[in-house]
Amino acid sequence: MPPIVEIINVSKSYRRGNQMIPVLIDINLDIEEGEFLALMGPSGSGKSTLLNLIAALDHVDSGTIRVGGVDITALSENELAQWRAVNVGFIFQFYNLIPVLTAFENVELPLLLTGLSRKEREEHVAMALRIVNLEERMDHYPAQLSGGEQQRVAIARAIVTDPAILVADEPTGDLDRIAAREILDLMDRLNRESHKTIIMVTHDPKAAERARIIRHLDKGFLNNVYSQNPH
């Protein structure tokens, strides 16, 4: 089987003033289906940038990214929106829930773009909330939930459309140790039981330990050293 993510000769730079700052330089990376990969590296090394490119939130300057066989660098903005809705679930450091919506409504958001009936949507949302063990909190607003609970709602939102890939940018960066462990356990389960391909950016070695493969980014280059965690 071909890798689910193929990154080929990808470069990306940002403009700062009238200067171009290279952030990613000629990156090549394959990620197998069902992988749990941690991207590590010092702050500002380009981890988030690379993750955003894989998840089609940003555009490459050069190179190609194929996900599930589709060259996403060739898609239009609207096609990308649709592609993201179907293929990728997102988990962020600051949970990124919509504050005026309840947990239930936040999880329902991605489903509103599908043709599902109200009843089907309710079933899916209930199922996702059950997986993250927050069913009884579904009528709470984000402000009424703890950080760990908010992140679980965010995970429920990420998996509710059953995407093949989950991307997580510092998912435990804002949590205490216990909550962080819960989140990592949950991701572990999603990887092993539901066979989600997970790409997680982190600079926390404890978090990275849970991944099966760790890759290091440094100053825009992907190190060839990569560790494989024994499981």
Binding site: L57, D58, A81, V86, F90, F92, I98, E108
Partner: protein, 385 residues
């Protein structure tokens, strides 16, 4: 359904800010509605004027009179159906403050020519029979508590002395655009007295009111009348009643123009206020719009949320403003009733207010929407945290 829920919740996320913005819109729409009503009231006489009536007056000025003898000549002109005439009386009732329009008219032809003044047949008969009789609009009669048979004395300003009249009829306007504050009496009575005094005003009239057969012939007939009196001692100027009314308004045209401009400036200001609210909102929500985009929400949905929120705020504000326009216009109308016999909130003022609110909501949302669409997801997400 969902979008409505989120945009209403978003609109009221900052209760104080939203309430103040709504208050601003309410006040602006109220001011706008009142200014429009004021302008309408000013043009009130024009709207009520008939297309089948002409007014003939001295070509020099309204204060110069025309000979009574013109009436027969005008009547002979092709296209003319009825001729009536009148004099401005300018009488004062007890005190100058009690101003109202009062004039002497040729009663029978006048009532024929002005069917919009509705008088019961008995009252009409009583009025026509009584040389000293007069007719008042029901608003005027109510204002002074006059009842049929009451004796009313006016102090003449143009025609000195105290003049006694007996109220013989109270007319109602055919609809709400009709002035119900007029006072008219028999021209014959005035003329008789003037003759007795050997006044130079005897047998002269201030203006003729000419009923024509068909409105399309108005210009033709007007020209024919003026041509008849060309090179005579008193040349005439004939125009449609509408033009005649407008010539009064022309004097205050600049003021009206200024009011009109102010009414739109009010709207401009409130657009700026709402736009400011919406851009504050936008700045706080950049991250959220980025999240929606991340989840696959397309630009038109994001635009819908911003426009919707802006419209929710402006429509609530202007509905309150429009509802308040009616009672406030009533109060203002009462205070100004001496100057504006008809001060009703016109449908036009309401539809303009409503249109203005939609325009406000729309314009205020354009820039935030444009920016929300422009911003790249990665940049938007970086603002969170």
């Amino acid at each position: 359904m969902f979008i409505l829920k989120i945009l209403i919740r978003n609109a009221f996320r900052h209760k104080l800010r939203t309430s103040l913005t709504i208050l601003g819109i309410t006040v602006a729409i109220l001011a706008f509605g009142l200014l429009r009503t004021f302008i309408n009231a000013w043009y009130g006489g024009v709207e009520a004027s008939s297309a089948t009536r002409l007014v003939t007056r001295s070509s020099i000025s309204l204060i110069f009179h025309l000979p009574l003898s013109y009436k027969d000549k005008i009547r002979q002109i092709d296209g003319v159906k009825t001729v009536s005439w009148g004099n401005w009386f300018g009488g004062v009732y007890i005190d100058e403050k009690n101003f109202f329009a009062n004039f002497a008219v040729d009663a029978k032809t006048y009532l024929e020519l002005y069917p919009e003044y509705i008088l019961s047949p008995e009252e009409e008969k009583d009025f026509l029979r009584d040389r000293k009789g007069f007719v008042a609009g029901q608003k005027l009669a109510r204002r002074f508590g006059w009842k049929i048979g009451d004796l009313v004395t006016l102090r003449g300003t143009i025609y000195p002395g105290n003049w006694d009249f007996v109220l013989r009829g109270i007319y109602q306007g055919r609809d709400e655009t009709i002035d119900e504050t007029q006072f008219f009496f028999h021209w014959d009575y005035l003329n008789e007295m003037l003759k007795k005094r050997n006044s130079t005003f005897a047998d002269t009239v201030g203006w003729y009111m000419v009923g024509i057969t068909r409105p399309e012939r108005a210009i033709e007939v007007a020209l024919a009348i003026d041509k008849t009196f060309k090179n005579s001692l008193a040349e005439t100027l004939t125009e449609t009643e509408k033009a005649f009314q407008l010539s009064f308004i022309a004097m205050s045209e600049t003021i009206l123009m200024a009011i009109e401009i102010v009414s739109f400036v009010v709207i401009l200001i409130i657009i700026a206020v709402v736009a400011n609210t919406m851009s504050m909102t936008y700045r706080e929500r950049i991250g959220e719009y980025a999240i929606f985009k991340t989840l696959g929400y397309r630009n038109w949905r994001i635009a819908g949320m911003i426009f919707g929120e802006s419209l929710v705020i402006t429509i609530i504000g202007s509905l309150i403003g429009i509802l308040l326009t009616f009672p406030v216009a009533k109060i203002v109308g009462k205070m100004l009733s001496n100057y504006f016999p008809v001060f009703n909130v016109a449908d036009e003022a309401i539809s303009m207010s409503f249109a203005a609110s939609i325009v406000i909501g729309f314009l205020a949302a354009i820039v935030p929407t444009y920016r929300a669409i422009q911003i790249r997801i990665a940049d938007g997400l970086r603002r969170i945290g």
